[in-house]
Symmetry: C4
Subunit: 277 residues, 4 copies
């Protein structure tokens, strides 16, 4: 297991080439936010935008349209109830993030299965939150694609079948290999399992222990994988950045809000930008 | 009667243990905000989030969903008209704050009686604003629970039967003992009556004399009692913090807005954090 | 004609007495904002809150409820279509501000006549924007009350019958005396006509020449008259403050937004606070 | 081809005359924002307001009313479905900006043809985004007016028939001459074709490569042409300002958000203000 250092930042967050345009930095489509949990997809979407994704679309419950644009006019909106529009948007995107605030009801299941059927091998699919629970509960078939799961320990238990107390690196590795996915197991010291490597994030602060942090990380992973390669490195850099910003803010704050982490991304990423790739 | 000092801060707001997660810092469910008074529950909810509660849910009129998430994506939303969902959310929470912007009509009464029937002995119930008026008017049966009332003087008159001019510490103490509750009597110099002690808050500024201050305090008490023990001390620390922030802001502001107090909580609490408990 | 100086600030904006509460600083009810012009009543309401009014209620089109609370949770909302609720709220307030974004259609006329019939002699009524146009057009009977009109020059022409080129102090004075009102004639150098005096505001910057400035001033006059006496002095202080803040911000801004003036009120008023009255 | 320098700023952004009012700085009406792309018209509208336009009206889908006013109370709202109101507003304005988030469906086409029929020779019409695509696709007749197109390279291909690889200054000039319009061809190094001159913008940063930048520029061009003459110079100054602000912010930010550029306009324009015209 390799412990991440801030070298992951400069080797991933590269100076942008002068002659680039928004298409260069990828399309990210975030799907989630039912009537109860709209804030989750708003936070994830803000994280993708502030991380620098070229174009961000948020597919969510119609009741969240106004609050999305009040906070984040940079994101496009689509109604999660529109099945064919969702398919079209997923087909045209580079990265899909599904799960933040999605819920686990029948409607959420339909949305998720629609997405799982639509994603193609060249696309990246970040599966977070209740989408993980649904995959585990209904043993949903996973598409050929660049899959990234971002479970907390209980969600990982559901997905892997490994109870929390037995989530050792060795046990986790076996489960990850069966999944053919990158897995971010979120905890006090988050672990990242890629196809070939295991990383541990040495950072993190209890000031981060508040609702919405996972949604923000999922959105950041969407934004980072849309821009940076190799993808495994992008995931590691997103996890590290998330905690590093939290630690900086926690110097002067008792609690760090997820939306503050997103807002601080442009500054932090500039400060840790590497030379051009 | 003991006068609070800033020792209440360091002895209550403890450094967070490294190995903790959002569940460690409690679930707070805030209930209120009819169509007219939605701002009240938004301010209370923001105070709970910025105070560091682990998970915050806001049960309010459906018309407030958008403005809640536009201001505070960290809070989850639930429709106050959904009786069974309200029961389920109350059952699954650590702290309930009911009253900010709830109103006093028949619908508000139904919501309140539903909550009073659902709360269990291990839970904390903060009863504020119009919920106090309803309890007094209809002589509602109070549950076995950790009860905290936060009346201003007129609401205390309604609840205790003691007219404002006669609200002496002795008279108040007798009424409090009958209530089996902690009571925060809000005034120019707020008094806190716990089961065994009476405290007076020496702080406060006329710059605070603006609508929404009480809603913010109720939310802060929710956030503090979800995180800190003993509970009586958490209530005292919330009251003291509320006024201390107001006094600091009033150095350079003629009026202090309630939402500014909430926003300043992370900084203030860090500055007055004690060693780990 | 007396030229205002910054003495109007310290003699009006007095240090608040320690033992005061939100009732001390008055209730302000703002009425306006149809479906097109909701922003106007939002800006006016923010000005009243940030000026320090004790309690602020905004009566506006139902479609503005969400944006009001997204910006300003401190204000209470009421639906302008509810005639009896509007009457009750007007009866229970100290100051009414009517006009910002009200429009001039039949519905607006009904709201205005309802308010004009309801206001009582001890109340202050600020008549702004389209409400002035309606009063002029329909020759509406004005109530016995503390009346304040805040026309720009064209609205003053409609109300007084004096064409802009002939709006001299002498002509204006005669029209004001017939109105039994304080009149604020807004222009490059705003003039204030009280019952006994005429004042001119020496401040103002072309950076202020943007939509919404008048709405913000109307809300400030509401907030100042709710708190400060004598009322004529409160009006003068509001006009002077509005321009003084704009001049300060215009040192570093090509254009000054109305919402920036409201947001700066707490700081400015503290910096120019006089000794206790 | 002339390379723009910062002289375009001081020669265009003139100190405002003391005796001016909001009418002096023009009326700008922005049209766009369907249910999916509401954020685009919000960003464009904010750019017009922060650039200093005297009065700004936003004609958009009804579902965007709340988010518009939550972000920007300074803008007036109108429902894009109201054909006759749109006509009346267009008739009464100085500058129309059409296209940001308008979409390309039948409803969008109807709105656009309605506007193209209504605009008169003395008015300025900025045609952006999907409105350009519609003009090209349906070969819509263009009105006699001060026309400004703001295509990116693909939209310019659609409008001019010149494929991107062949968009040389010479080829572009011929197409522009046929259009009788000013054309801003947006790319890494944006080119501006007026009736008599061609300019190139030397500024720009890859930190700007994010969705919404074009919408913000369109709104800025609306705000600049409403205030400054000659119009071609106003367009050049808007383009230069947009990139100059982005470059400044990119000193400390990895990505620059469009809404940050709008918010920085008052400061930047003051810092580069020339003497009075």
């Amino acid at each position: 297991m390799e412990t991440l250092t801030d070298k992951i930042l400069t080797s991933t967050i590269r100076q942008r080439p002068a002659d680039s345009y928004k298409g260069t930095y990828g399309r990210v489509t975030l799907i989630g936010g039912n009537r109860n949990f709209g804030g989750a997809i708003l936070m994830a979407s803000a994280a993708a935008v502030y991380a620098g994704a070229g174009l961000v679309t948020t597919i969510t419950d119609a009741s969240n349209q106004g609050s999305l644009h009040a906070r984040l006019p940079e994101a496009m909106f689509a109604d999660i109830a529109d099945v064919s529009q969702t398919q079209a948007l997923v087909q045209g995107t580079d990265v899909v993030v599904i799960g933040p605030g999605l819920g686990t009801d029948e409607a959420a299941l339909q949305v998720l299965t629609n997405v799982l059927r639509t994603v193609t091998p060249n696309q990246t699919l970040v599966i977070d939150g209740s989408a993980i629970t649904l995959v585990a509960k209904y043993q949903l078939a996973l598409p050929q694609a660049h899959l990234i799961f971002t479970p907390h320990q209980m969600e990982w238990q559901r997905l892997s079948g490994i109870v929390i107390a037995e989530q050792t690196p060795t046990a986790n590795r076996q489960a990850v290999d069966r999944l053919h996915a990158t897995v971010v197991v979120k905890s006090h010291r988050t672990e990242i399992y890629t196809a070939t490597q295991t990383y541990v994030n040495p950072l993190g602060t209890p000031a981060q222990a508040t609702g919405g942090m996972g949604d923000t990380l999922a959105g950041m992973i969407g934004g980072f994988t849309a821009q940076f390669t190799p993808q495994e490195q992008a995931v590691c850099a997103a996890v590290y950045t998330h905690s590093a910003i939290a630690e900086e803010l926690a110097q002067t704050q008792y609690v760090v809000l997820p939306s503050q982490i997103a807002a601080d991304l442009p500054r932090f990423m500039k400060a840790h930008e590497g030379t051009q790739a």
